[in-house]
Every structure is written in structure tokens, then in C-alpha cells.
């Protein structure tokens, strides 16, 4: 069965420190992976997807099929990065986006 695991409920870092939000998935086929973000009092929105291999707001995520991971990284965290981050998995051609339990990132000044 498809499953997404985000082991950290809360990650607290100081401004300027590197940050890595962990995501591991369980899926036997070819996954499509995403990171979604929800800022305070805002809607859930797409941050990035692995297929695009892009950097959004300084964040990157690399799919590691060997370790079944899709960790989200940023070299220098900013206070405005404080938000709830969800990792999600979708089977190619499917429509059930499976979410992890989320990690709250708190960037302190």
C-alpha cells in the first residue's frame, strides 16, 4: 500500500541555518512526489514536484529511489519559511494524492 512518512512533527531552526524536512514513502511502482506548504491562515498550496526538478523559494527536493526518500532542503532558512509542510505521493495516472502527517517548520530569529 502507498504510504508517506514524515517522522518529524516539529522542526525548529534559527534563521540562516540549513533545514531538511524528511519524507519517506512506500510504493512499489513509479511514484510522483510533491511537497505542499500551508502558511498560517492560508490555503494549502503546491511548493514543488520532483518531476520539475526546480527550486522554489530556495527549496529543493531530490527523489532517492534507493532510499525511497524525497527530503526537502534549504541551505539558509528564513523566518517566512515557517509553515506546515506536507509530503505527498501520487501514482502515475492515478488521482489519489497520499499525504504524510506533515511537519511544522519554525524558523526563529
Amino acid at each position: 500500500a502507498q504510504r508517506v512518512t514524515q517522522p518529524e512533527k516539529l522542526l525548529s531552526v534559527f534563521k540562516g541555518a540549513p533545514v531538511e524536512l524528511k519524507c519517506n514513502y512506500s510504493y512499489s511502482g513509479s511514484p510522483e512526489l510533491f511537497w505542499y506548504v500551508q502558511y498560517s491562515r492560508q490555503r494549502l498550496q503546491l511548493l514543488l514536484r520532483h518531476i520539475s526538478r526546480e527550486s522554489i523559494k530556495g527549496f529543493t527536493a531530490d527523489l532517492n529511489k534507493g532510499e525511497t526518500s524525497f527530503h526537502l532542503k534549504k541551505p539558509f532558512a528564513q523566518e517566512e519559511d515557517s509553515a506546515m509542510y506536507y509530503c505527498a505521493l501520487n501514482q502515475f495516472g492515478s488521482y489519489k494524492l497520499i499525504f504524510g502527517s506533515g511537519t511544522r517548520l519554525l524558523v526563529r530569529p
Binding site: 514524515q6 490555503r43 494549502l44 503546491l46 495516472g93 488521482y95 489519489k96 494524492l97 504524510g100
Partner: protein, 115 residues
């Protein structure tokens, strides 16, 4: 409208009562999804509508939950005989085609509290 709209924003109901949650998707989006966001539980898939196809109801947690989508646009999620464990934020999302989550947009959610 400019985005996915959900109403009400907040709903407090007594245990045992029925509630209806509404979702207005982005105009022209053929796919519509409902998710439930519980504290510490992530987002739980509930149901999916795509055009005129039969909806995928496999995520609905019990037969107290049902959903309709009228005219391929507005959707209503109904919870009958609400229980305290139904308390959560219910999110709706729409996309221009199924399975393409780069184009999925979420509503602001309905926070349901069952007392």
C-alpha cells in the same frame, strides 16, 4: 470565482446532527476532491469526482458520509449523525484534469467541530 470556495468556514454542531459542507470549484475544472485534515493525521483522501464518471468513494470512512456533485460543478459533502471523531478540517480541491496535481487548487477548508 478566482479560487476554490468552501462554505461554511466554521461549523459547530451537536453530536448526532447532520451537516452539509459545500465546495465551489474553479470554473472549468473537471476534477474535484475532498480531503479531511485531522490534527496529527495528515490529509486523508475521502472522495474524487471526475467529469461525468462515477465518483471514487473509497476513502469515505463510513456510510454516514456521502457526497454529491451537481452539474459537474458544486459539490456537497454530507455527514449524517455526526460523531466527535468527525471533528476536523474538511478540504476541497479541484484540478483541470484528474491525476494532475500541478493544477490542483485547494479551498480554505471548513472546520467542523462536533460537541
Amino acid at each position: 470565482g478566482a479560487g476554490v470556495s468552501q462554505s461554511p468556514s466554521n461549523k459547530v454542531t451537536e453530536k448526532g446532527k447532520d451537516v452539509e459542507l459545500r465546495c465551489d470549484p474553479i470554473s472549468g475544472h473537471t476534477a474535484l476532491y475532498w480531503y479531511r485534515q485531522s490534527l496529527g493525521q495528515g490529509l486523508e483522501f475521502l472522495i474524487y469526482f471526475q467529469g461525468n464518471s462515477a465518483p471514487d468513494k473509497s476513502g469515505l470512512p463510513s456510510d454516514r458520509f456521502s457526497a454529491e456533485r451537481t452539474g459537474g460543478s458544486v459539490s456537497t459533502l454530507t455527514i449524517q449523525r455526526t460523531q466527535q471523531e468527525d471533528s476536523a478540517v474538511y478540504l476541497c480541491a479541484s484540478s483541470s484534469r484528474g491525476g494532475s496535481f500541478t493544477e490542483a487548487f485547494f479551498g480554505q477548508g471548513t472546520r467542523l467541530t462536533v460537541v
